[in-house]
Amino acid sequence: MFDQQLANGIFLGAVYALFAVGYTLIFGVLDILNLAHSAIFMASSFVALALVGHGMPFWAAFLAATAFGGVLSVVLDRVAFAPLRARGVGGGALGPLISSIAFGIIVVSVVRGIFGPDEVGYPAGAVVSANLHIGHATFTAIDLSVLVISLLMMIMLSLLLKATSLGRAIRAVAENTKAASLLGIDVERTIGLTFLIAGALGAAAGILIGAQFNAVGILMGQRIELKGLAVIILGGMGSIPGAVLGGFLLGLLEVFSVAYLSSSYRDAIAFAVMFLILIVRPAGLLGKRAARTA
């Protein structure tokens, strides 16, 4: 029982983490709470499903839909955030929050128009999945590949941020946009690439969760949006390692609370933890940001 719950918690946590990493990356760089991230997550999941439906193998559909999510995220930036940036509206203001909500509404309603409001699954045999056993835990090959792909993507991201010139540019823009621009960094290009990466990560999370539960629906974005918020608060807003830690912690917390307490309050755990962290330690477990005025 314990082994199984542990495995379930880790698999759930991996997807939470992957979703939250893209979410928190945007916040860390631009100070923007990007509420359209979940719409990109959901739309990309539908794109992967449609590609598989047209006969594409799952791995190819995964790559194509991940790229789609990245591009959609760049479009989001150009349409919803860049005009506000150009006018000097900073992060933390109401404007970018609202324009991301607006972009999310547009994406969701287009997806609903194309694919309809119902939850759909992958065609039989499209996502092959054998049962595996470790200790007393049973899980599917899909569960395991979700974990492996999530970990790989998160490792790639931290390497990119640490060891490449793009990573240095992203960190410089996050620290201080004006100073970065004085140092000769192309700020707009860096921000665009940040959105590309964040969108691709969110898209990958959406595609993987869709395949794992064999269910892709219009509401999946809404469901993870607020959970993702809890994850990045838990880890510390803007902190990538924090989002990874927060994702796994929340996954484990939820699974164990269902197993040993009660299932009806499962979703309350995330928000109770988030609320408490905000009041007791608003910077989160690994964050440094001052969240209070006084």
């Binding site: 109401l94 509404i105 969701v108």
Partner: protein, 292 residues
């Protein structure tokens, strides 16, 4: 006159909804006027709706009494929640209040007294159009008078510049706290009116998407203006009716209008109006509202 009677008979439900949404918009506008973004109005509306409906169902008390008790209950919860959260800055306050809203929803979904996921039904249909618009008129008058009072100046001062306000002896934390509690009470009134208009309430009525709707009313109209908030509520409540022919794509209009307002008219519709009257400078100084 006859077409008016006819129009009302045809659209009374919609007219009621516009009024209730306008009250919700006013409730959010109170916190936005003080320059902070708290997103729990839908949850406070829900709390009051449940309290008021349960009193109507079990005691049979009249709407005015149940609504006042419901609003008082929402304000009391607002005090408890507001004490810790109104110290948070900008986006953290928004997130904390979203979290509170979700917890309230889950509790309503699991308690037996609230009817769980099925909610409450057979709530007496006591809300009438004139009652809604009477409440709206009283609140609009209150907001209009508020601007000229000491409290109103304090609220505006905190919005424009917290530190400058503090140097004039205004306590920004107190202003934020009391606007939060007042906002909860007004949202409570709207929630109770909604419950007694709708015959039926469920936890899903008070979720994040409703909160977003309320936020959209205020942004479209003009974030810090009570008139704009009411106007925004009317426009957004009526848009889906106008664009009924778009069917599944209907929401897209909301998204596009919202995006266009944020990008091209950041002061909302009220801002366009006041820019003509007071000149561009006044409009740009108010541009900082919503800033943590």
């Amino acid at each position: 006159m006859e077409w008016l009677v006819h129009f009302y008979a045809l659209h009374s439900k919609l007219i009621d909804q516009v009024g209730i949404n306008a009250i919700f918009a006013l409730s959010l506008s109170l916190t936005l006027q003080a320059g902070h973004l708290a997103l729990a109005n839908a949850a406070f509306g829900g709390i009051a709706a449940y309290v008021a409906s349960l009193l109507s169902l079990s005691r049979g008390w009249p709407l005015s009494v149940t609504t006042l008790i419901g609003a008082a209950a929402a304000a009391a919860v607002g005090v408890v929640i507001g004490l810790p959260v109104t110290r948070l800055r900008g986006v953290f306050l928004a997130i904390a209040t979203i979290g509170f809203g979700e917890i309230a929803l889950i509790v309503e979904n699991n308690l037996s007294i609230t009817g769980g996921a099925e909610g409450l039904s057979q709530i007496p249909n006591e809300t009438t159009t004139w009652k809604i618009y009477l409440v709206l008129a009283v609140l609009a008058f209150f907001f209009w008078r508020l601007r000229r009072t000491r409290a109103g100046w304090a609220i505006a001062a905190v919005r424009e510049d917290e530190y400058a306000a503090a140097s004039f002896g205004i306590d920004p934390a107190r202003v934020k706290f009391w606007t939060f509690v007042g906002s909860a009470a007004i949202a409570g009134i709207a929630g109770s009116l909604y419950a007694h208009e709708n015959f039926f309430i469920a936890p899903g009525d008070w979720g994040f998407s409703r909160m977003i709707d309320i936020l959209v009313y205020c942004v479209i109209g003009g974030a810090a203006s009570p008139w704009g908030a009411m106007l925004g509520a009317a426009i957004i409540s009526l848009l889906p009716e106008v664009f009924r022919f778009l069917h599944d794509y209907r929401d897209i209009v909301n998204g596009i209008v919202l995006l266009a307002v944020v990008i091209f008219a950041p002061q909302g519709i009220a801002g366009l109006w006041s820019r003509d009257r007071r000149g561009r400078k006044a409009a740009t100084t108010a541009a900082a509202e919503g800033q943590g």
